[in-house]
Every structure is written in structure tokens, then in C-alpha cells.
Amino acid sequence: MWVYRLLWSAGLGLLLATNAQAHSAAEIGGGFVSGLLHPVLGWDHVAAMVAVGLWGAFLGNPALWLLPVVFPLVMALGGAIGIAGINIPSVEIGIALSALILGAMILLAARPPLWLAGLIVAAFAVFHGHAHGTELPTAASPLAYSLGFVIATGLLHLAGIGFGLLVRWPLGRVAVRAGGAVIAIAGALFLGSAV
């Protein structure tokens, strides 16, 4: 038993000791932080990511976790398309539409079948992934950058889920739908500036 505890402590110490990576940490940390900030600094990304979590929470299990799992996977495919240099027309319009449509889904309390909800989210994830993917080759540490923006994306989903769990209460349901309305309006504004 003590061996087990010792190994556990050693492993924990290893994780804590990551502070010691001073020199290569500059490259890895720089890539990670710029990846982490990339989705957060773009309001169109933020609105769409939060909407995915919000809609998932609105739809309940299993959409609650399935949509945030589908999104990064398909986003990676979109990113691969961007890396390959394959041009997707009107990426910014697609991103703006994602906020508009997902916000409208929440506002209207739309409850499509799970496969359709997954398909809608996946379709928009391609645009977000393409936008991130085209910036990946210039990152200092591509893997750290991609981990950063995937984690930021997940945390934005989580923020949406956290807010979306208010649907359990009647007043919370109104608040969530109002949140959807705000996202849809923001999406319409993004669309206006993208066109």
C-alpha cells in the first residue's frame, strides 16, 4: 500500500514540477497561451461556443455532453482542411451564422432529434476549425497551441452548460432563452459585418 501511495505522490510531484520547464516552457507556454486566448478573443467564436453548451444543456442528456464532444472532433477536421490549404468560402459568414442559428435554436426552444442537433453543431464546427487551423502552422508550438484552443473551446462550452442548467427552473428557462436571443442578435451583427 505504501508503494502505491509513494508512486501517487511522485506522480503528483511530477505534475507540480512542470514549473521547472523554464526554457522550453517559453515556447510551449507561449503556444499554449496564444491557443487558449484565440477563441476567447474573438466574440463570434465565444458566442457560438457558449451557444453549443447552452443548447446542449437545454436539450438535456445525452446532448448535454455529446454536442461538446462532437464539436472539437469535427473542429479538428475543419482545422486539418485549413492546414491542407483547402479554401472554404465565406468562413467568417459561417462562423457568424453559427452564432445566429444556434442562438435562435435556444430562443425558440427547438428540440430536434439528437442526430440533427449533432449535425448542425458539426457543420458549424468545420468553419471554426478552419479559422483556427489556418493559424496553426505559424504557432511556436503547434501541439501546445492546438491544446490551448481546444481546451478554451471546451471551457466556453462548459460556461454555456453551466448557464444552461438553469432550465430546471421556470425563471431559469426564461433566462436561458433570453441568453439565446442575445447570442442570435450578436450573430446577426457578426453576419452584417462579415457580408
Binding site: 523554464a22 472532433l73 501541439l143
Partner: protein
């Protein structure tokens, strides 16, 4: 002991980057310094931990000997170039996908996955030192660091009993798969 462990990273950070910490500790930290190694270890840990205790044991049985073989070959100066990291990323993406699907294959597959990750990780951990002593210290440190990391992740994952914890494991699997896929694609698809 916990307090002592908490003090150690600060002391190390205080005076030096990698040069000051010695070959052994540089080896210990190596799996965490290389993002592809850390990602492959985390995904393997989640995969085996999700499978339960027997799966974890099978994984360790494959991982440890393969890691030792890989590190030994790396210590002898065998250089396989830059082709190992994409393979590690591919394995990370595949194991991450199995984590998302909560797929529990026959136990020999856990051993095979452990062996594959261990071997590639070992081969990709060639130390920079030239003298036999520092090389041995770095390799020993790398083997301990990699195994402790795998053990910690697998153990944490195996303890995930609540539904939300199991969902969190699958979500982390999706993050790892997405990141590994992107960087794997970067290596293969980037137009020159």
C-alpha cells in the same frame, strides 16, 4: 511529504532552467516537457483507467518493458529521425477516440497499446548527454517520469465512478483526439 513535494518545484524553478536540475531530473521531466509525449501518456492513461484495474495492469505490463527497450535503444544512439512524434500523435488520437467511445477491448489490446506508446516514447527520448553516467541517469529519470505520469492518470480515471466524472473523461479524450489530429495533420497536410 506533500509539503516537501510542493517545495521542490519552486526550488528548482528558482535557480535554473533545465541545465541546473541535472540529468536525472531532466529525464524525469522529459515526458512532460514534450507535448506529444505528455498527450500520448494522458490518452493511454485515460484509456487504460477507463478499462478498470485489469486493463491497467495489462497496459503496464506492455508499457514498462517496451519503454525500457525503447530507452535503451535511444541510449545507444539509435536515431530514427522525426518520424516518431507523428506516430505518437496518431496513437494518442486513436486511444483518445476509444476513450470517447468508452470502448473496452480485450485485455491484450491494452498491453499492445501500452507497448506501442512505451516503445515510441522511449525511442523518442534520446538524451543529449554523451558520458555513460549522465545518459543512464537521464534514461532512468525518463522511465520513472513516464511511468509515474501514466500511473497517476490511469488511477485518477479508474476512480471516476460518477456519471459526470465519466463524461469528463470522455470530454478530455475528445480534446486530446482533436489536438493530436490537428498536429498530425499539420505534419502531413501542410503545403510546402
Amino acid at each position: 511529504m506533500t509539503a516537501a513535494l510542493l517545495c521542490v518545484p519552486d526550488l528548482v524553478q528558482a535557480h535554473s532552467p533545465m541545465q541546473g536540475i541535472g540529468d536525472f531530473y531532466a529525464g524525469v521531466l522529459h515526458p512532460l516537457l514534450v507535448p506529444a509525449h505528455a498527450l500520448a501518456l494522458v490518452m493511454l492513461g485515460l484509456f487504460s483507467g477507463q478499462g478498470g484495474l485489469y486493463a491497467m495492469r495489462s497496459c503496464y505490463l506492455g508499457f514498462l518493458p517496451a519503454l525500457v527497450v525503447g530507452l535503451t535503444l535511444a541510449g545507444t544512439g539509435l536515431d530514427l529521425g522525426d518520424g516518431l512524434e507523428p506516430l505518437l500523435l496518431l496513437l494518442a488520437a486513436l486511444t483518445g477516440m476509444l476513450v470517447i467511445l468508452q470502448f473496452s477491448p480485450p485485455h491484450p489490446l491494452f498491453a499492445a497499446a501500452g507497448a506501442a506508446v512505451g516503445l515510441l516514447l522511449g525511442l523518442d527520448s534520446a538524451p543529449e548527454a554523451v558520458a555513460p553516467g549522465p545518459i543512464a541517469a537521464a534514461l532512468l529519470g525518463a522511465s520513472l517520469g513516464a511511468f509515474a505520469c501514466l500511473l497517476l492518470i490511469a488511477d485518477l480515471c479508474e476512480r471516476a465512478r460518477h456519471h459526470w466524472q465519466q463524461v469528463a473523461v470522455r470530454v478530455i479524450g475528445s480534446w486530446g483526439t482533436a489536438s493530436a489530429t490537428l498536429v498530425f495533420a499539420l505534419g502531413w497536410l501542410r503545403p510546402d
